[in-house]
Symmetry: D2
Subunit: 182 residues, 4 copies
Amino acid sequence: MKLFSFAGSLRLGSYNKMFAREALRLALESGVEGEFADMRDYRMPPYDADLETSSGIPESTRKLGQKIRTADALIIATPENNGSISGTLKNIVDWLSREQPVSLRGKHLLLLAASTGALGGVRGLWHARVPFEVLGMHVFPDMKGLPNAANAFNELGRLRDEQTLSQVKATVTAFVAHAAKG
Amino acid sequence: MKLFSFAGSLRLGSYNKMFAREALRLALESGVEGEFADMRDYRMPPYDADLETSSGIPESTRKLGQKIRTADALIIATPENNGSISGTLKNIVDWLSREQPVSLRGKHLLLLAASTGALGGVRGLWHARVPFEVLGMHVFPDMKGLPNAANAFNELGRLRDEQTLSQVKATVTAFVAHAAKG
Amino acid sequence: MKLFSFAGSLRLGSYNKMFAREALRLALESGVEGEFADMRDYRMPPYDADLETSSGIPESTRKLGQKIRTADALIIATPENNGSISGTLKNIVDWLSREQPVSLRGKHLLLLAASTGALGGVRGLWHARVPFEVLGMHVFPDMKGLPNAANAFNELGRLRDEQTLSQVKATVTAFVAHAAKG
Amino acid sequence: MKLFSFAGSLRLGSYNKMFAREALRLALESGVEGEFADMRDYRMPPYDADLETSSGIPESTRKLGQKIRTADALIIATPENNGSISGTLKNIVDWLSREQPVSLRGKHLLLLAASTGALGGVRGLWHARVPFEVLGMHVFPDMKGLPNAANAFNELGRLRDEQTLSQVKATVTAFVAHAAKG
């Protein structure tokens, strides 16, 4: 079983990248393989059907789709921007949906969110499920919003708080066990 | 009273642009002022907080925010992409939300969707309300999804079907009357 | 201007009733009229179209519809049950929607939620907007979730915490000012 | 593998009951076991925490929970009432969620909707996913809305239209194959 993980944020020091990486690290402890990708390495312009007609699907989209195809399950962390999925992530999803067959279809997905606020991006998580489900992904019912993300990680990018760490570990482990069934 | 209208699509021949324009035309018949803008003239990169830190909010975002500020109410047509708001539109909203004060806050909004399918983008409309409401917009309860959009407009960009035309006209008129109250 | 307020809970000591009452009290301070109703006095069976055919719309629904008709704006507090609107409230809405014309249509609505948890029912609030908006209500963009509700009220049913009180007061005042425009 | 199927409607001639039954019949063709239940045989009052305190969880809820526990996967058809899950179904879910452990948790669910309108209840389906997902169900990404339901079934309760029949069969078969993995 192979995981693929990324965050719907471009910022170098993104807490969502840290959360996606940390969740992947915890998943790997259970013996699965996995890889993290930084969306700075897969930049795409805002979706434009004319651009698609003239130049095709971007190379970055195709490379990302290929990564997704080789994975059995995904862990994606999304910023909550204006109560919903980040535009940056939604744009990635829209481009990915233009490939046939769609790489995301049929894959398992664990959605996470990190937020500097007190609610941990929980509104955004529920909004973010929809496009992935429309594309045929099995979005794991449990999600995990991480509040106060600015203080949540140590210098190695690990979750500081023991209780949070064990909750995230439990969610990730349950997700991996479920996804492993196929 | 002044309206401002645009579509969450970049495609030159976008049916959502046609729908946003046509709705605006019908609104102007009731004597209000209004303007349509093409998002090709307000291109923004995918939101990136590092870019914002280094270069500030894009000039295109500031110009769009200024247009919104001078309007009392907005008519926005969004493609339904993967059952939800288009990534292109969500990205515009995310950038707009970085200006303080947020130009969208307190404005009235009529949401429309045009789709080449049979459902008229109705799923996307309900998903698209959320970020606008989170930003404090008064999103009009009635929305209008236009199915089979590829055949809906004549060469002047007017709705061909009399019944559809009168329904859209009724929705637009009710919206303008409500928004006019302030 | 006249307000009408109730909660989507039947429990005698419901925190949502306390929150709906307290929000109404704060609204009345700005000089508007208003009334609170306890849904224990408007009990309805689960919606059943056969029951409607044989016995008509329940008397309790008609009485509630009449109260709503005489109001300009509503304040409704909903428990978050399973991440969404309470079934009890949804059932009331479904019955109310059977009257023609629908009493709710065109009214302004402020949605509140009280919860004994830390998130204040914020997921439920966003889910609860939808049926009211479908029915043509102008749901105020700002909502207010009250966390830790078990300790939030004093023996007179007033909010203990000064900051929370002033936030709720600000939301209620903004809502009343907006609804007063018609 | 064992299926359990019901509809979120009480009406004797409910199209959603017919749709839930028909989907179950199509599933049984692939050799799984299954049972349909009519919610008229599991009537519950609107959720009331005081009633729960004084009388406990209703016998009907406990019986329904037991049925769910013995099944591996569920097929539920929900009317779209006011753009969302029926209050009758939401009330059933709220009562079911009071049992510990919750019978629904971890089960696979296929959501269906039948509607006499042209959109087939598609808005309601997306709204109805949320409480089930919050309770830890694996809601199948594909759903099926049946438009024009008043003419969709023959006197044996079978879908008349060949194309619709084969689409529903395909969805049900894919669901059963997925749920069978555990």
